[in-house]
Symmetry: C2
Subunit: 340 residues, 2 copies
């Protein structure tokens, strides 16, 4: 099928290999009729340049990688990731890049895959999902001087480029909203322990409470893991503390929490108001009507790619940092509608 080479096309078009190369790479300095003639042959023969040869000669692979470290095990549980991936894939399509997907399952995988990630001959750049503290892969990637964009601020941001939302103020706003609605025993369900997202969201939550003169109450804080079931258990843990509201660090956990609340015979939002984080499509289902912090997940992925392109084209320093806006979407689960 496609064992044609530049040379073959050149011969058929009666020009040199270089000219064909110029044509397929859209270089100027080719006479219009020659260009047409070559294009014609390319069309007729169905010629496509050999990717490996092109990469080798030009030192550009037109490929980037999306890496999900081991600690991010919710890839297939949290709808967040498919959306995020979708944004990345679309941006790649638009920029004519190929996307490599690296889901790290085990320590072993990590060892095997790392060399593939860090050698420029395969990837021109990497987007890595920020994970938990102690995630060595991210650290090693940061040291590899590959163009790298971290999705979500990393632990040590030593000059690394990343994209994030302002989790602290988002959580602050969400919690403040509950306070304004008159709730006074507000709990929180945090995300995966030791991850920057979780830490930041908890910080925003606390800031709102302390700012209103409340004191920190550890019985109102429960650890989740970003999963629905994790939210369910965390809520069960919270119930004895008699909260009248809860801020969950993800929609999935908020939904789990609502389930736990209802199972215990209480009502949402009458007895306990709930606010989530993400605004995934499920949040707006009539069953949930979840008040939540909307973050532009798709955009998040899309822009991560654009930052990466910038890094690739213009060098990795200075580090680029982008903070996307969030928005509080008020539905019924927080009880706002009932006050009117």
């Amino acid at each position: 099928m496609s064992n044609l080479t530049l040379e073959d096309v050149a011969k058929q078009a009666g020009v040199s290999r270089s000219t064909v190369s110029r044509v397929i790479n859209n270089h100027p300095n080719v006479r219009e009729d020659v260009r047409k003639r070559v294009l014609q042959v390319v069309e007729n023969t169905g010629f496509h340049p050999n990717a490996a040869a092109r990469t080798l000669a030009s030192q550009r692979s037109w490929m980037i990688g999306l890496v999900l470290p081991r600690s991010v095990n919710s890839f297939f549980l949290d709808p967040y990731f498919p959306h995020f991936t979708q944004g990345i894939a679309q941006a790649c399509n638009q920029h004519n890049y190929t996307l490599g997907l690296f889901l790290i399952g085990t320590k072993d995988d990590e060892e095997k895959i790392f060399p593939r990630l860090s050698r420029k001959s395969l990837l021109e750049g990497i987007i890595v999902q920020s994970g938990q503290f102690g995630d060595q892969l991210t650290d090693r990637l940061m040291d590899s001087n590959m163009p790298l964009v971290i999705a979500g601020r990393p632990f040590h941001s030593n000059n690394a480029s990343y994209i994030d939302v302002d989790n602290v103020s988002a959580a602050y706003n969400a919690t403040s909203h509950l306070l304004r609605l008159g709730r006074s025993r507000i709990g929180t369900i945090t995300g995966l322990a030791n991850s920057p997202v979780s830490i930041d969201r908890k910080e925003g939550y606390l800031k709102a409470l302390l700012g209103r003169g409340f004191t920190q109450d550890e019985t109102l804080v429960a650890a989740g893991d970003f999963t629905e079931i994790g939210g369910y258990y965390a809520m069960q843990q919270l119930l004895p503390a008699k909260p009248d509201a809860v801020f969950a660090a993800s929609d999935l956990m908020a939904i789990g929490a609502m389930r736990a609340i209802r199972n215990s015979g209480l009502r949402v939002p009458d007895d306990i108001a709930v606010v989530g984080f993400d605004d995934l499509p499920i949040a707006k289902l009539p069953d949930h009507q979840l008040t939540t912090v909307r973050q532009p997940v798709y955009q998040f992925g899309f822009q991560a790619v654009e930052i990466l392109m910038d890094l690739i084209e213009n060098g990795i320093k200075p580090a680029r940092r982008i903070i996307l806006d969030t928005e509080l979407i008020v539905r019924n689960s927080c009880g706002a509608s009932q006050r009117k």
Copy 2:
């Protein structure tokens, strides 16, 4: 960092480039002490072979692609896909292959991406999700004589390799189960129109009904699209026909259907029994307790890769066909537990 070449390593180890090549490729015919010496240098220098050069010289890229055609727009809505992708990714890790992800969004994407897929210089093989009828991409891929595994039987299986579950008997069993429980007005919510999965599952459903002497009743058939909301609407459409059971072609649709049933003031399973398809983690949530057909989604992905490896190593003919087993998982939504 890694601008080292074989030549550099060779020099440092006092051998020739070929020998180093043999060592890093685990070829026999290298004296043990030489091998050790070379390995030592490789270790010290952190040498990693250039992927592009290797691909060019050996004509092997050690990379496969996962392609989701345009008609498969539920990638980020249906948890099915992340699970499937996870299986593929794990298998790739195990076999030391790199996975390329190609999410086709528009006709334009398709045109741009197709050449990347069909030239062997980038990918050694492809897994494509079977989509709707008229999905040109899949047809073109089948014609490209690239090693290709279709996930879910394609429309025209002209000698293509694919992996699937026996949707007809799975649906037959699910429906028969409802019949055995005494239900007599069983509706179905089909998947995306014009897709083999949907057709097969509907066929199994009908077969069970007809086999029991029922006649086909079109008012008991509603079209969904594999989404939750699609299942919801489809169920609303079904309600006037007063079904006492419904078989949905996916868990997500089954969940949407249950929501519609409850919203209309009816109970599951008392008034209407529900059976789904997939057995995703959400199916077992206490809210749903969904009786469903379990298909091994992760395995599906994993084995798709293994078939592909076989195609790559041993030639694409004859076509390989694998049908995975399903299992009916009985929970509460079908009403089985209440009969005892």
